[in-house]
Amino acid sequence: MDLSFLQATLLTLLGGLPLTLNLTACSVLLGGAGALVLALMRTSGLVLLSGPARAYVFVFRGTPLLIQLFMVYYGLGQFRPALQELGLWSFFRDPYYCAVLAMAMNTAAYASEIIRGGVASVPPGALEAASACGMRPLMRLRRIVLPLAIRQALPAYGNELVLMAKATSLASTITLMEVTGLAGKMIAQTYRAVEIFACAGLIYLLLTFFLTRAVLLLEWRLSPRRPRRQPAPPTIRITGEPA
């Protein structure tokens, strides 16, 4: 075992970690916002809104992420003159923006289904109670539906987060040198596939480990069973009760 080679490899690969983290964070944040919009469209009950959302999810979940990435980066290049006219060419020319866009659009489709499941799990009684209290739909959404739905969807969303962190490796196919890109380049140069795989694998395992821990922590924080310091319940006095 060549320890100095392993050390050098690990150091080189760590240089790609910031880009991996950056891609994961940006696409998850953007995709999460998109997922929320899509889920609300799906559950709105209006065909005009739920139809397009359904079609979007069908297309993005039914095709590989890699082809979506190529579609954005290479495919839209076919419309370069039009994009230049619109001033969008500098955006679509940059592989980084293309990768973030494609991944955000992809994860939005998957995450919207997860959030939709969470929304569906909100008990109808809670909705009725909120309406009976006089909450308007938007307030009910903000105060009742979303908090309950997000808590319910969190474990599944954690899985999606890990999948996204792994999916950022595809960015290497459009010239972005994140961890997998660097690893692929090194393997092709040195042909020491096993050692380099071990180093890159270690980095990804640690990354996914911390991500799952973070989601578990968030789950615990949002869990209603957590003992919390609460004000003492008001003592109820019922008149006529024997002392």
């Binding site: 579609m71 419309f79 792994k166 196919t173 997998t180 042909y191 596939a193 890159a200």
Partner: protein, 235 residues
């Protein structure tokens, strides 16, 4: 050139794209089969294995689920040729021997999906009532006979929904095999896009073919699910 001629005319790109779509299906089916065998072994290790077998199976599952699939493909592609070249060197052949790309792709897809399939099989096995296993033993069945007559038919039935999910996963992962040069659907679209300078058109065509494959096979899995439950339908 007109779009119609481009795809359907003589020397059009329609036939190569359809052939490539067939290659995608063949690759995915083989990957699913290899993954089923490996997944069954992993599940076996986790259910009946001793401490060492269980720990090893756990470790393999954790690693495979925590590492990007692209990295596993690189490992098999370069690592496989590394081992082959080394073996060739030992046999007196000096030079590089590459592992066939189709084989590499099938192995990589199989290994990647094995971790997921193991979980599916384990869940399906746990759904079988213990009493059936005990009565099979009491009736004097050996392990193999019990597997064939009692376990396998029911495990497959319970595993179908999960296997459907894994199948979709493999189908979409098969696009990654294009990076090592196998001409499957995505690669064929890339080639067409490169030689006609119409990338949007070709990626759209590939996108539609992928959608067709995923929705038709998804429907087939749903049909199989309903069919497998037929003996239990009531009323």
């Amino acid at each position: 050139m007109h779009v119609f001629d481009l795809f359907l005319g003589p020397n059009g790109w329609g036939v190569p794209l359809l052939l490539a779509a067939l290659m995608t299906v063949a690759l995915s089916v083989s990957g699913l089969a290899v993954g089923a065998v490996l997944g069954a072994l992993l599940a076996h290790a986790r259910i009946t294995g001793g401490f060492i077998a269980r720990t090893a199976a756990d470790a393999v599952t954790t690693i495979l689920r925590g590492v990007p699939d692209l990295l596993v493909i690189y490992l098999f592609y370069f690592g496989g040729s590394q081992i082959l070249s080394w073996a060739g060197h030992a046999a007196g052949y000096d030079g590089f021997i590459g592992l066939p790309v189709f084989l590499t792709g099938v192995l990589a897809l199989g290994v990647v999906s094995a971790a997921y399939q193991a979980e599916v099989f384990r869940g399906a096995f746990n759904a079988i009532p213990r009493g059936q296993i005990e009565s099979a033993r009491a009736a004097g069945m050996g392990s193999l006979l019990m597997f064939r007559r009692v376990l396998a038919p029911q495990v497959i039935r319970h595993a179908l929904p999960g296997l459907g999910n894994v199948w979709q996963l493999i189908l979409k992962d098969s696009a990654l095999i294009s990076v090592i040069g196998l001409v499957e659907l995505l690669r064929a679209a890339q080639v067409g896009a490169g030689s006609t300078r119409q990338p949007f058109l070709f990626y759209s065509a590939a996108l539609l073919l992928y959608l067709a494959i995923t929705s038709v096979s998804g429907q087939a899995f749903r049909w199989a699910e309903i069919r497998s439950l037929r003996p239990f339908r009531r009323g």
